[in-house]
Structures are given as structure tokens and as C-alpha cells.
């Protein structure tokens, strides 16, 4: 027996009511926010910079670049031929209830060479981690899932880099289904930070290689919930003397997202102005010469707005920037606002439950073959027994 429906029914009613009221409120807010954006765009550049300084180093709003804040940029002409590389990863987390203690990282990648009609090349890499240093790191206790995610992210970037390097000299666009910032680096702490740092450094070196091979690198964030531009607008609207570390957070635009504004603002195919991410992580990137910038992009006629992250060396290179802008748009044409290469990379990475089950089965047999007796925990067994069975009739 699962949830208690009778007590939930009235709560659901409240939820519906609340969402409705909120959407009314938010829709009233959007024009105000756009108006505020225009005002912010008119502000003096140095004025904005001083406000940002006053906001302190815990402020995570968007930092403007040279581009006018409310400007939209039309799609450039798509290049004749372009190699689009997509990579995505999936994993099996370590499970102390399973028959063995291990984790698996699976990376799928695809290269679509636009313009020559040839069959895209696909690749899958699967790696099993079971040695003690993989399972424990430098700690006394086993690693957490966040650590697996970190290794996965680095692996995705590694594959992207390797594939891009095979195409050195050609126009390439490499897309990641993720932020370019290594988020996990934020979340791990303590004794793990040394390892985290090691991975961060590996990652940054990969970005170096991508820079050298003149690849148009982008991170693609679907349905972004970021509010960093709204934070900037709010900051711009505060009276200079009321800027405190607290006041910068109490935005009147709470509940709204950047996406909501740009859905109104951007015509299809247009991008917004480029901003710089104010995440604390960006400082390491900045030092390494890979400060992460971003812009919003409307990919399809049905108001789909996405966030695209790019390193500084893409933002400041018009050719690379245009390549990223036009290339992503082109890649999204048949797949309703999401890049084809990422759909495929995801397909290649994901492990379907059947294969998962088969993998477990094979693993069990291998262990038995080595004279081990894999035991499943009671919890795991219980889960199995309560699953459904289907009778087969020919």
C-alpha cells in the first residue's frame, strides 16, 4: 500500500489553486521585468560594474559583457559543412545491496558531419570501477554518488576532446548536455577536495586542448531555471545606497525565471546578449583562461528558450561564436528545439533496464565462475519479489 490518497486529494486542490494564482501574478511580472531590463541596458557600464562590486562575492547574478543587455542577435548563416560532436554519459552507482561493489560509467558520443550526407560515427565507452582506490578514493569510507557524477562529467569532456582532436583543422562544434562548469566540484568537500581538485585540473586541461583545436565548445542547458539575469536587473534597479548582501537577494521577481523574459524578448533563432557566469567555480576557470560565459537562445518557433554556455575564447571569437549559434540552431531543427546530436548521445549512453538486468546476471555468473558466492541483500530480494510478472502465451 503506497500513498494515502484521501488526505492528498484536498492538498492537490490547493496546489492547483496556488499554481493558477501564481501564474497570474507571474504573467503580470514579466512586462515589468522586461521594462527593467531595458532600463538596465541604458545604464552606464561602469555604474553597473560598481554595483556588482558592492553586491559582494556571494552575489551570483549575471555579469554583463560589452554587448547591450537587451539586444537580440539574429541567427548567422549556417556554415556549409560542420562536424557536430555530442557526448553524454550515464552510470550505475555503487550499491551495497547488490551482489558486488562496483560502479560503472558509460559514455556515448556521436559525430554528425553536416553537409556531406555521410553516416555519422558513433562510439560507446563503458568502464567498470572496482579497485579499492576507485571505490574509496583517499577516504576510509566508500565514495558517494556525487563522486561518480564528477568522474562521469570529466569522462564526457574527455571524449568530446578526443573526438574533436581527430577533426583538427576542420570546422567542429562540440556540445555537452550539461553546464560547462564542473558543478560537483562545488559539492564535495573535506578530504575529498584534493581529489576533486585533481579532476578539476584534468578537466581544465581538456579545455586547453579544445581551445587549441579551435573547436566551438558549448554546454546546452534545456529548460533553464536560472535567475541570474533577473538578479542583475534587480541589482540595477536598487538605489545605490541600498545595496547590501541581503538586499540583492530579495528580488521582487521571485518565482520568475530568466527564461520567461527571454521567451518574450527573443524572436525564433535569435540569441540574447552574452553574460558572464558569476558562480564561484568560474574563478578557477577564469584563472585557467576558460571563463565561462552564457547566452539565451530561442531554438524553435514554439518559444523554446535554452541556455548555452561557452568559454571566453568562444565568446570573444566572432567566427566561433557564430559557429556555435548557427550550428546549434541547425542541429535542433528536426528534434523540436533540442540538438539531434545530444538526443543520440543520450541514447548511446543510457543503459536500458533489460541490459542492466542482463549485466547483473552476467556478473553473477562471472562471480560464481570465480568461486565466489554472490549474495543479494534482503532489501534487494524484496524489491524483486514485489515486481510484476507476465505470463507468456504463444
Amino acid at each position: 500500500m503506497g500513498i494515502h490518497l484521501p488526505s492528498l486529494l484536498p492538498q492537490m486542490q490547493e496546489l492547483g489553486q496556488s499554481l493558477y494564482e501564481r501564474s497570474l501574478q507571474l504573467s503580470k511580472m514579466v512586462p515589468k521585468a522586461i521594462e527593467a531590463l531595458h532600463v538596465t541596458a541604458d545604464l552606464d557600464h561602469s555604474d553597473l560594474q560598481s554595483r556588482i562590486m558592492k553586491a559582494g562575492n556571494r552575489w551570483t547574478g549575471a555579469i554583463p559583457t560589452e554587448e547591450a543587455l537587451d539586444q537580440t542577435f539574429p541567427p548567422p548563416k549556417a556554415p556549409q559543412s560542420l562536424h557536430v560532436i555530442g557526448a553524454d554519459g550515464s552510470q550505475i552507482y555503487p550499491d551495497r545491496h547488490a551482489s558486488a561493489f562496483y560502479y560503472l560509467i558509460n559514455i556515448g558520443s556521436i559525430v554528425v558531419s553536416r553537409g556531406n550526407g555521410e553516416t555519422p560515427t558513433i562510439q560507446q565507452e563503458s568502464r567498470l570501477f572496482f579497485e579499492l582506490e576507485d571505490l574509496y578514493g583517499e577516504a576510509d569510507y566508500p565514495i558517494q554518488n556525487a563522486y561518480v557524477n564528477l568522474r562521469r562529467d570529466v569522462a564526457e569532456m574527455k571524449i568530446l576532446t578526443e573526438r574533436a582532436e581527430t577533426l583538427a583543422g576542420e570546422k567542429t562544434l562540440a556540445i555537452l548536455d550539461n553546464s560547462l562548469l564542473l558543478w560537483m566540484a562545488l559539492q564535495t568537500g573535506g578530504s575529498a577536495s584534493r581529489e576533486t581538485d585533481r579532476y578539476l585540473q584534468q578537466y581544465l586541461k581538456l579545455l586547453d586542448r579544445l581551445h587549441s583545436s579551435e573547436t566551438g565548445l558549448a554546454g546546452f542547458i534545456d529548460r533553464p531555471r536560472s535567475v541570474s539575469v533577473l538578479a542583475l536587473i534587480h541589482l540595477a534597479g536598487l538605489p545605490g545606497d541600498q545595496i547590501t548582501q541581503d538586499s540583492v537577494h530579495l528580488t521582487p521577481f521571485r518565482g520568475l525565471t530568466d527564461r520567461a523574459i527571454f521567451t518574450h524578448l527573443l524572436p525564433p533563432g535569435h540569441r540574447s546578449a552574452i553574460f558572464i557566469s558569476a558562480s564561484p567555480l568560474n574563478s578557477d576557470f577564469r584563472t585557467a583562461g576558460h571563463e565561462i560565459h552564457f547566452f539565451y537562445l530561442k531554438t524553435a518557433a514554439d518559444d523554446t528558450v535554452v541556455r548555452v554556455e561557452i568559454p571566453i575564447w568562444v565568446a570573444q571569437d566572432p567566427e566561433l561564436l557564430n559557429r556555435v549559434h548557427a550550428g546549434i540552431l541547425q542541429d535542433c531543427q528536426t528534434t523540436g528545439g533540442f540538438p539531434y546530436t545530444l538526443v543520440r548521445a543520450h541514447e548511446l549512453a543510457v543503459i536500458p533496464p533489460q541490459e542492466r538486468a542482463a549485466f547483473d546476471d552476467m556478473l553473477q555468473r562471472t562471480l560464481i565462475g570465480h568461486g565466489l558466492r554472490p549474495s543479494q541483500s534482503q532489501k534487494a530480494l524484496t524489491k524483486e519479489l514485489t515486481g510484476k510478472r507476465k505470463h507468456y502465451r504463444l
Binding site: 556521436i110 555519422p120 543520440r344
Partner: protein, 200 residues
């Protein structure tokens, strides 16, 4: 037909009369209608011999989506046709089994294990298995299958993997056996015999 046995799926449902296998396979690996396959049973002590009679590509929303569009870039079409792993499901009719003593053309004593690997049958084994023809009766008696097409296709494929000098004799032998089983329905017999001969 591939020269060496290839894994074409895992058993998802089964009985002693047949089994269903599924897998994500690349287009090259999709099993062929009328081909033989083997699935492990009794913890590896025997293998059930199955005859593939239905193959379907399941739940491929992505391909459906792309297919609905008018202007699809050639690279994406090629990607879909050649690269993509398609989730397939196939049905196989149990026509015999294999144990230490060799092949037997009778209903297998036990069905294959769930999630047992299903392998396509190597040409040498297919020749060996089809040297006896009792399984023709099993096919003819199976309900709700495309019996006539299956019979013709299976035997045609089994003839093609034989050395050239033996094909005629095999076709004649199987043709006569089918004629014996279907002597009362000449129209049907003639259709199947024509199917035996036509190039697939």
C-alpha cells in the same frame, strides 16, 4: 546469414512451445524471418532451437518523430538506418532442442530461462538440424503464424547455406515432404513450393 553465431536478444517470455526475445541491436544484427536461433535452457544443459517468425521494432518514438518531418538531413537518415540501435522484439517457435546427444526435433522438455541469451544459429548447425524434416510438421501445426511464408522462407534459407551441389537435392527432398503433408490441398502446396524456389 552471419557466419558465426551472433547474439540476437535475451528471452523475455517463454513456454515450451516458443519464446520471445528482445534486445537493442544495431540494424545489422536484426534477426531474419525464417532463421534459426538457440536459447539456453536447463542451466546450459540443453538449448532450445527456435525458428524466428515475427520481428517487431518496438517503442521507437524518436524514429517516428523524425519520420514525420518533411526535410530530414541525409546524415540523420543515414544515422537512423545504420547506426541506431533499435529495440526489437522477436518471436521464435520452438522446433526442437539440442543436448549432449545432438539435435532432436521434438518439443523441448523445458523452456529456456528468462534472460537467457539467444544466439543466431551457425550455418553448419542449421545444415545439421535441417537434415531431418520432422520440424515441418511442427510449423504446419502452429496456430496463428504465417505458416506458409515461414515454411518457404526457412527452407529457402536452409538451401542457400548448403554447398551449391546439394541445394537442388535438399529442395526436392523438402518439397516432396511438404507434398506428402499437404497432398490434400494442392493450391496451398503449389504456393509454398513456388516460395521455395523464388529468390528471396
Amino acid at each position: 546469414m552471419p557466419e558465426s553465431p551472433m547474439m540476437i536478444g535475451r528471452v523475455t517470455r517463454c513456454s515450451t512451445r516458443g519464446f520471445v526475445g528482445a534486445m537493442q541491436v544495431s540494424v545489422k544484427e536484426v534477426p531474419v524471418f525464417g532463421s534459426f536461433c538457440q536459447a539456453e535452457a536447463q542451466s546450459g544443459r540443453s538449448h532450445v532451437v527456435g525458428l524466428v517468425y515475427d520481428i517487431s521494432i518496438t517503442d521507437d518514438h524518436f524514429a517516428r518523430q523524425i519520420a514525420a518531418l518533411e526535410d530530414v538531413p541525409q546524415e540523420q537518415i543515414a544515422d537512423g538506418q545504420i547506426n541506431r540501435q533499435v529495440p526489437i522484439e522477436f518471436n521464435a517457435l520452438a522446433v526442437g532442442f539440442r543436448d549432449d546427444a545432438g539435435f532432436h526435433q521434438a518439443l523441448p522438455p523445458r523452456p529456456p530461462l528468462t534472460l537467457a541469451s539467444v544466439f543466431s544459429m551457425a550455418p553448419k548447425d542449421t545444415v545439421d538440424f535441417t537434415s531431418e524434416l520432422h520440424f515441418l510438421q511442427t510449423i504446419l501445426n502452429a496456430p496463428q503464424l504465417p505458416v506458409d511464408e515461414l515454411l518457404a522462407t526457412t527452407l529457402r534459407l536452409s538451401a542457400q547455406i548448403r554447398p551449391e551441389g546439394e541445394r537442388e537435392r535438399f529442395l526436392l527432398q523438402t518439397g516432396r515432404e511438404i507434398a506428402r503433408l499437404l497432398a490434400q490441398d494442392l493450391t496451398r502446396l503449389e504456393n509454398i513450393l513456388c516460395g521455395l524456389r523464388s529468390e528471396g
